[in-house]
Amino acid sequence: MAGLELLSDEGYRVDGRRAGELRKVRARMGVFAQADGSAYLEQGNTKALAVVYGPHEMRGSRSKALHDRALVNCQYSMATFSTGERKRRPHGDRKSSEMTLHLKQTFEAAILTQLYPRSQIDIYVQILQADGGNYCACVNAATLATIDAGIPMRDYVCACSAGFIEDTPLADLNYVEEAAGGPQVALALLPKSDQIALLEMNSRLHEDHLEQVMEAASKACKDMYAVLDQVVRDHVHEVTTLLGE
């Protein structure tokens, strides 16, 4: 018999969600005092930590400086203990440099970089536990960290993945669903303007289905926005009460 049933006839996925439902999202902002901005985010069992420094002067080679906007420097890494098998993950392997590049592209599109010419913004993200949707968790965590750092952005960047199994688009895939090998779309969206910051797709999907899957992904991104927004508001509220307002 074929392996797991990813979507039961009753409409439940392996972990009990329905097709369009997100995993439970929990997030905290300002987890580190020394960084300019930081956030911790759990999306189901996927846990990501994001730290933002800057904007600050160019470090390292000054020749990289851009005269009209800030340079967004990203670094993605996975903790050795993040997967079932403990594994050393050197920086700069193919997967993580690709992810680094994607994050950079995403945040260059979202941050108002022209406000800080000749300076640099560093975003460091680490996956502490991987259970599918690593990129999305990273983007969401980094968004919170950037907001925590007070760096002006066009909008929140909300990311969520979507897959397509048994003719149904599924939102926010977990590891088991990802591993099944079906098509997968990762979407980073600026929810208010409906602009796409990044769109990536693995494996093949017919264009007829693309619209459905995109719809599911952007719906999921907007759901994610609602959650992130609440987190930010709660955080601000908490900070202001601490300040004694």
Binding site: M1, D9, D15, G16, N45, S203, H206, E207, D208, H209
Partner: protein
Amino acid sequence: MLTSRTFLKRTRAGAVMKVVREHYLREDIACGAAACEQCGQQPGEPRLEAQPGGAASSLCPAPHYLLPDTNVLLHQIDILEDPVITNVIVLQTVLQEVRKRSAPVYKRIRDVIASPEKHFYSFTNEHHRETYIEQEQGETANDRNDKAIRVAAKWYDEHLKKINNEETIQVILLTNDRNNKEKAVEEGLTAYTCEEYIKSLIANPDLVDRLACVSDEGKEIESGRIIFSEHLPLSKLQQGIKSGIYFQGTFRANRDNYLEATVWIHGDTEENKEIIIQGLKNLNRAVHEDLVAVELLAKDQWVAPSSVVLQDEGQNEDDDENEEEKENTLKSSVSKNMLRPSGRVVGIIKRNWRPFCGMLSKSQIKEARRHLFTPADRRIPRIRIETRQSSALEGQRIIVAIDGWPRNSRYPNGHFVKNLGTAGDKETETEVLLLEHDVPHQAFSQAVLSFLPKMPWSITEEDMKFREDLRYLCVCSVDPPGCTDIDDALHCRELENGNLEVGVHIADVSHFIRPGNALDQESAKRGTTVYLCEKRIDMVPELLSSNLCSLRSNVDRFAFSCIWEMNHNAEILKTRFTKSVINSKASLTYAEAQMRIDSSSMKDDITTSLRGLNKLAKILKKRRIDNGALTLSSPEVRFHIDSETHDPIDLQTKELKETNSMVEEFMLLANISVAKKIHEEFSEYALLRKHPAPPPSNYDILVKAAKSKNLEIKTDSAKALADTLDKAESPDFPYLNTLLRILATRCMMQAVYFCSGMDNDFHHYGLASPIYTHFTSPIRRYADIIVHRLLAVAIQADSTYPELTDKHKLADLCKNLNYRHKMAQYAQRASVAFHTQLFFKNKGVVNEEAYILFVRKNAIVVLIPKYGLEGTVFFEEKDKPKPNINYNDEVPSLTVEKTTFYTFDKVKVNIMLDASNIQHQKIRMALVEPKILGSDVPNQTTELSTNSEPEKKKKKLKK
């Protein structure tokens, strides 16, 4: 909505790995009861009736829902499928376990759940907040699942009490596990065993017979003597297999000796590939086709395969001494070099039981309710069943399923499933041969039919957008008479530049059968349409096969077209594939098409088109044959069936017309073109068909036979074979060439489907093509549907899906397709054999001319060209003195009492029907000419010899 989650740990084979998975518990899962107001909106209809009717039970007269546990579902699916049983709650826990343990049962229960009149509801208890439980420390998975079932039952019980109804609906837990039942009763649940409940059904006493008798452990202790040694548990077997103490293999019972079997060892070990198991105790309750673990016996206990024929006939179970005596007869006097590795079965890895066809052997005691059942397949042991309707079942073909084989029982226990009808009836026998060849032939389930297009169906604008409109072309189809599933049509026209455009249009079945749905799964399972003499078992529902997909004339139909531009030398200049809409102008039979081509007066478009095709086909055929394609022959017969009685009244060998080969030629061309295209696009996932070259030794018999007629057959290449076969003719023996071709066919290997990523030999030997696939008959072959999908993706006309690009899944599919095709072929042959029997039954005894096809050690195989019938003539009979037989392997020839037989000799045989064993009727042949001394042959005037005891046919084994 999401409330809480827990973590599950799992270890996988090899390294221990911790896998953490989320598990969401929900509050929005409805209970499925129609009367329930708390559960709010549910997707779809409530499945459980507000006033559960169903069968009246004396145990619980109140309205109730049933809740079966896993074992009840697994073993008593026959009962649950009965229309009497309705309003059943199937828990997710149960479904998942069933899915893991038995795919066929899972499919059946899914079908039942899908049918609205059964009112089955599947409750996702594992994700319900109040019914989810965790596995406790030290608790086995089974105990946990039992507990989960009880918790769910309890929840239902309390939940249903809250419904405002005059009568509360009860939930009845059905479990055969005594422990579980006790615990359930303790917890205040109503629990019955399946047996208790079914017996309490007032109006339906006949259901009891269908109960599977699964003995629980308690019963086993009661009745004393233990015959068999215990089976080792699976974990121990796996350990043993790994360390090499035990061998894993498929158990194959001997057809003629119930005390002997061979086990085919899996894996690549060269030696001990085949282990012999002899004796009841060593066989240790294994049944034909089971996957077993075998222990090799010490060398001094090795035995030789016996040539004795033994049939299990004992009615009494206690005659063990008798048994031992029989076993001793096996061991008598064998030379040392005959000894083969022998072993004994230590455990069963996987049972491969299916329902078996056969007949009841009634117990001698009149009132007895336990009877033995004799399966039609002699490799299956007799099965003990319990039934009260034995007198009604006598002389009927019935189906019985095995439930288990306790250690103290000589025979396995089973239960009655279905009565097929009177033995010897045409419908019954057809049913039997379908079942015995594992041909799925039930009516399509509701779930499958729900994926059919809604009638009246018409082509919409939307459809046209993606298709080329080829309705203006003069397309026609050519098929055998009476064909309703037309899957191919052709056209040919001259282009402005002088070239010819030839199109092969294939029914676009993949448009209607979408990947992954129930319809697709069912067709994939069936694999092929099976054509029997008077019946067709469709692969896809009739609406598709005979209507929407069938390219009938003068209606618009979807097609997948393969269009070539050719010059007048039949060289392909351009190949194009497209999804299209066509409108066939005529559906012709081969004879009609031939007539049009031949008649000089006809000048219409269709005829010109046919003539063009015919001309090209001839060139194509010649080119193919020059490349070394083989023209083989097999005697095929067609029955003329009486339209009233459906009895065969005449036999006719199939006649081939030029138009047959015309259609065939273009089908081959289309298949090859498509094979190239899909392999180019999907080098890893293309589904292709190959025909391996046979090993040279296969040809020995052909070469020897030809030599005896002073002819030389070269077999070093297909081309040489084809050429020498063409030349092999003898002026005074015109039939010789056909005989040689028939013989050559027998030397060939089986053509098979395979996935291009899993193999690197693509060659099709018979067609002399480097690559080949099946594209042209999607209505009747599933392989073609996959090829259509691949091609559609290749030309960007359709979307791919994960399974299509998974070579392991594709390889599994190929395996199933090859199996189904083989079984379909056997079923077809069996059907022909059965009709031949009917034919000769009506005809009486006849003498006919025949040719010797093979010479065996104690018999000759003859072919009767008039009927295309093949049969074996034996020279030894049991009650008669053994004739002096001398077999020469070199020639080969057989000398019986001074008469010598060579291959291809012309003889005269006497044909009659041997009806002495009603389960295995067969055609018997005896030699009339040349006369052999000492063997009296019944001629036409003698009565059917009734003394032919069942032993006679067992001699067949010796070949």
